[in-house]
Amino acid sequence: MTRMTRRELGRLAAGATVLAAAPGLSFAQGAPIRIGYSMSLSGGLAPNGRSSLLAHKIWQEDVNARGGILGRPVELVFYDDQSSPANVPGLYTKLLDVDKVDMVTSSYATVMVAPSMPVVMQRNMCYVSLFGAGVNEAFQYNRYFSMNVSGDDIRGNYAKGFLDVAAKLPTPPRSIAILAVDNEFAQKAADSARYLSKQRGLRIAYDRSYPPTTVDFTPTMRSIQAARPDLIFIGSYPPDSNGILRAVSELRITAQMFGGGMIGPQIAAVQAQLGPILNNLVNWDVYSPEPTMDFPGIRAFQEKYRARAVQEQVDVLGNYLQPYAYAQMQVVEQALGRVGRVDQAALAADMHANVFKTVVGDIKFGASGEWSEPRNLLVQFQGITDGDLEKYKRPGTKVILFPENLKSGELRTPYGAPA
C-alpha cells in the first residue's frame, strides 16, 4: 500500500476545497436516496412506460448535477412490470422489503397504479402516482398523490371541456354518440360524457363499449353514422384509436365535433401515420406547446428529452405524459428538500400543504391526493397536411380550446377527414 505524504495530503485538501467552492459545481455525498417503482418497459403500456423512464432519468441527472437531494445522490430502482397488473404487488414488495428504497412512485396508468396500492399502504409509504385516474376513490389513502390532470371528480370534469365547447357551436348540438373501450380509464371517460350529456339535455343516440381485441372498427363506426349524432365522443386506446380514425376516414363520417377521450392522437407515431386525418379532431390532452403552457423548465426538459428520444426508441416529441413524469419526480424532490429527511408522514403533510413548482406548472394537491384544480385540456388538431412531426413542436397545430385560462385558438367545424 502506498503511503500518502503530508505534502500530498495538503495538495489534495486544497484541491477539494477549491472544487467545493467552485460556483455551479455540486457533488452529492453519502448514501443515495433510492426511489423505487415498477414501470411498463414491455407489453402494451411500454411506449408510455419507456418514455416516462427516460423523463425520470433526465430528472435524475439534473438533480444529481445540482448536488442531489439533501446532499445525497439520487438512485432510481426500477423493474419491468411487463404491463401486467399481476406483477405489480410482488415488485413493490421487493422494492420495499428487499431493496428497502427510501421512496416509492408509481408505474404509468390506472391499471398499474391500483394493484400497487395495498402494498404501499401496508408500509405507510408516501406515494406519488403517474396518470392514475381516480385510484384513491376506493382506497382513501391519505399519503397518495396523483400526477394527473383529471382531479377529484372525473365524472364531472373529464368530458366537461368537450361539452362546454360543443355548447358554443353556432347550431347547438342535440344528440351525442358514445363509444368506449372496455377498460377502466375509457369507461370513466364515457361515464363522464354520459353523465354530463344527460345533465345538458343531449339525446344519447348511441352508447356502446368495445373489447380491446377489436380489429375492424368499420361496422361500429357505420352504426354510429346511421344514428346521425351531432357529436361523437370516443374513449379509446392505441392502436384502437388508429383503427377508429381510419374507419371514420374511409366511411367519410362527419360530425360537428368528433373525438373526446381518445388516447393515441397525443403520441408522435400516431400523429405521423394519420397526418391530415387528424384535422379538426377535438380531443382530451394534457399538454400542447402553445404559448399558454410555456411553463418554466418545460422547454429545457423537452430539448434534453428529444435529443435522446430517437436513440432510446421512445416517442420522439415528448408532448404527452413525459413532462408529467419529470414533474412527478420534482414533487418528490421538492417535498424531500422542504422536509429535510425521509419521513413518510412529514412528506405526506408537506405534499398536502404546499404548492409544487414543476415543468407542467404549479400543482396543489387536494384532500384525496388528486390535483385540487383539474386541468383536462381539450385540444383541436388544425392545419395538418402531412405526417411531418416538426409542426408538433411549434404552437398552432394542437390548439387549446379548453380551459379558458389556457385557450389558444378557436374551434373549427365540422370534423370530416378526407377519404
Binding site: 373489447p211 388508429n242 383503427g243 381510419r246 366511411l251 407515431a269 377519404a419
Partner: protein
C-alpha cells in the same frame, strides 16, 4: 335501399374482408397445428415479427409492404425450418412435445415480443401504401383497399399452398404425415424432413400475414396477442388440417363479428363468434371440413 339492409350488406362485406386477414393469420397455423400437430402458440408473434421486418425493409427500399412480405416469406421459410429442427431435436424426438413443446413455443413467443421491443422499441410502426387511403364505393357498399388488398394476397397465398398440397408429391406427403407418419416412413419418405418442410411453409405464411397486418393497422410488439385466440379457434372450427375449412371459418368469424358489431354492438362480437365455434363443434366435432376420426 333500406338503412338496415345497407348496414347488413356492409357488415357482410367488411366481415369477408376482415376474414381475409384472419385467414392469412390462421393459414400457417392450419399447417403447423392442424396437419403437424405442433401447438405453435408463437405463430401470431411470428406474424408480428414479419410485420416489423416488412416495415423495416419496405421503408428502406421504398417497396410495397405486400410485395416485401412475399419476399420475406423465403427467409421466414428457413427460419421455420430452423425452429422445427430445434423443436424436433429437443422435444418431439424425445416424445416431450405435448406440454414441454407448448412451453417451448410459449417461450419463443415471449422472446420474439421482447426482442421486438429491444430492437424496434415499443412504439407503433407502420408503412402505408398509397392505396391504403382509397375506398371503392359500389353503390352503398364501401370497400376500403386497406382491407381488400391484404385479403386478396392472403387468398392468393393460401390458394398456391392448397395447389401445392394437392398436386405435388411433397404436398401430398405433408397431408400424409398429418394422417400417419409411420405409414409415410414405410413409403421410404422421411416424415421428419416432410414436417420440417411443412413447418417452414407455415412460418413463411406468417411473413405474408405480417405484411397483410401492416397494411390493415400499425403494428406493435404485443399486437399478436389479439390474434392468438382467434387463429386457434378458426383452425379448430375449420377442421384440423383443412386449408379450405380454415378459410371458410375465417370468413365466418369475420362476418359474424362485424354483423354482430353493426347491430348489437362490438362488445358482443367475440362472444357471438366464439359461440358459433361452440355450435359448430357441437354439431360437427371434427370442424366444418375436418374428417371424423
Amino acid at each position: 335501399m333500406d338503412g338496415d339492409l345497407v348496414l347488413l350488406l356492409n357488415g357482410i362485406v367488411s366481415g369477408l374482408l376482415l376474414g381475409g386477414l384472419y385467414a392469412a393469420a390462421a393459414a400457417g397455423l392450419a399447417v403447423s397445428f392442424g396437419m403437424l400437430d405442433i401447438v405453435n402458440i408463437a405463430h401470431p408473434a411470428l406474424m408480428v415479427a414479419g410485420g416489423f421486418l416488412v416495415v423495416l425493409v419496405g421503408t428502406a427500399l421504398g417497396l410495397d409492404p405486400l410485395l416485401v412480405s412475399v419476399l420475406l416469406a423465403v427467409p421466414f421459410y428457413f427460419l421455420g425450418v430452423a425452429v422445427y429442427t430445434f423443436y424436433h431435436h429437443f422435444f418431439e424426438r424425445r416424445g416431450d412435445e405435448a406440454l414441454q413443446g407448448l412451453a417451448f413455443f410459449f417461450g419463443v413467443m415471449f422472446i420474439i415480443e421482447v426482442g421486438l421491443v429491444m430492437s424496434f422499441g415499443p412504439e407503433q410502426h407502420f408503412l402505408d401504401p398509397p392505396y391504403a387511403f382509397i375506398t371503392w364505393r359500389l353503390g352503398e357498399i364501401d370497400i376500403p383497399l386497406r382491407m381488400l388488398a391484404p385479403a386478396l394476397l392472403a387468398m392468393a397465398a393460401i390458394g398456391a399452398l392448397w395447389l401445392f398440397l394437392r398436386r405435388s408429391f411433397t404436398g401430398l406427403a405433408i397431408s400424409a404425415v398429418a394422417q400417419d407418419a409411420e405409414a409415410l416412413r414405410l413409403m421410404a419418405v422421411d416424415p421428419v424432413r416432410i414436417k420440417r418442410l411443412a413447418f417452414g411453409l407455415s412460418v413463411a405464411l406468417a411473413a405474408i400475414a405480417g405484411g397483410a397486418l401492416v397494411v390493415v393497422q400499425p403494428v406493435e410488439p404485443s399486437s399478436g396477442q389479439v390474434f392468438i385466440g382467434r387463429v386457434f379457434a378458426i383452425c379448430i372450427m375449420g377442421g384440423m388440417g383443412s386449408l379450405s375449412g380454415c378459410v371458410l371459418a375465417a370468413f365466418v368469424f369475420g362476418v359474424v363479428e362485424n354483423v354482430t358489431a353493426t347491430f348489437y354492438g362490438p362488445s358482443w362480437s367475440p362472444a357471438v363468434a366464439f359461440g358459433w365455434l361452440l355450435l359448430v363443434l357441437a354439431v360437427r366435432p371434427q370442424g366444418l371440413f375436418g374428417k371424423a376420426a
